[in-house]
Subunit: 279 residues, 2 copies
Amino acid sequence: MDKITIGYLGPAGTFTEVAVKELFGHRSFSLQAFSTIEECMEAAQKKLMDYTVVPIENSIGGSVSTTLDRLIHELEVPIQGEVHLPIHQQLLVHPKQKNRENYTHVFSHPQALKQCSDFLSKEYPGVKQQTMNSTAEAARVISENPDKPWLAIANSVARNFYKLEIKKENIETFSTNMTRFVVLSYLPLEIDTKRKKASIIVSFPQHDLMILHDLLSLAQIFRLKPTKIESAPMKTGMGEYFFFIDFEITNKEEGFKEMCRLIEQIGCNLRILGCYPSK
Amino acid sequence: MDKITIGYLGPAGTFTEVAVKELFGHRSFSLQAFSTIEECMEAAQKKLMDYTVVPIENSIGGSVSTTLDRLIHELEVPIQGEVHLPIHQQLLVHPKQKNRENYTHVFSHPQALKQCSDFLSKEYPGVKQQTMNSTAEAARVISENPDKPWLAIANSVARNFYKLEIKKENIETFSTNMTRFVVLSYLPLEIDTKRKKASIIVSFPQHDLMILHDLLSLAQIFRLKPTKIESAPMKTGMGEYFFFIDFEITNKEEGFKEMCRLIEQIGCNLRILGCYPSK
């Protein structure tokens, strides 16, 4: 049997790679790193990979807007699973630069810089923050520039991979820092978990937000617990929104499908993004 | 009588300055430009200005996260008014660089780059996009570097102020592009309009999102029409959200206050951000 192929937001050492190992650890797979979320999602859409893993939400930075935006406006590939991962950020430095007092730049992903903003403004107020496509890319840049007075924020996997030193551990503002990753694929996925979730995107007739009240009435009737309700602009005019809603499914999947049927019947535009196991 | 003082997101020539003129055009005022939204909001909070105007939402890019984040987590100064403004983006160039074929950089605010992304990826695919604090600052940079093959995206006011040429007009993807600006102040504001709105921030007991159903039931009873429902992470843990909700007030303000009282009574944490005229 061929190995399954898994695409993820690279390079090697990103939190997304950690998520892949958490989801597929027991299986035999070959990994392919993509350098942007857009490329990951295109690979999923075009079936270049069996499964593709991307971040969708962080408990501090909020939704990953690129992921949500593509799911709403462009993609048709369903969500087949999700995993929640605790996120710890490390301030990394090249061994040659370890004992220096002054640094000029700190490199990282915008979300990571945001997550560590309290630490940075207190300990490194004058240091220029430079955004990168991923935390691992920031670590790579530091490793390739041993003579520059630069810092990176990335995880421990990237630290080991690029042989960097930890200047300061766990510099994130909130220790409750978690990220949710989703698996995109046309193939179903089995994960070792009993929790099940479903995601929909919905818009309301005449953009009347009061219809959300009716939608939640239907969810209540079918005992579906909303775990996330987020609006995004439709881009067609002020006050016109899509809603991205996740539900926890505690009973049978049939209830969820019946609710969706009724939501459409009251005039909403609805798309099911997936009904999937959650870890 | 002293002139009123108005702070806004500068430099001269931003869309925010256009909003100020729309809101205060009939009065005598002195303007003070601040270079970031954070500084604007701090000036409002510390009463350094009589009124302060900042953007809060765009119909394409969505909420301005800095503004929303500060309103939720840091500020106590109320919203006293709002205005909706159509946004047209111009591709600007220094007169000396007008007839060139190749450009290396295009400067603008991240939201403006987002709003023009279709045009840029089609017409200027290889040109590096450089983010600035405002569209007007981008125009200023271009005007100060006549020998560089650079472009800026900004509005017509900035174009006139910095004496630039229009390379291409109205390059935004959607012609329905609108921005909402809010006035922050401890002083009430009278605007020539009959429309009235109110904004609240609310969180639910045990983070149970189904309580949003009860909240909307109460809004329905008091004939308050929600015009925006947006969630933002509380930063305390995954699945824990604040909700930022705007209502249109068609009847008396008392109904809104009574609804707020009842929302608190069912265990929600609620803060009224303001009850204000909307233009």
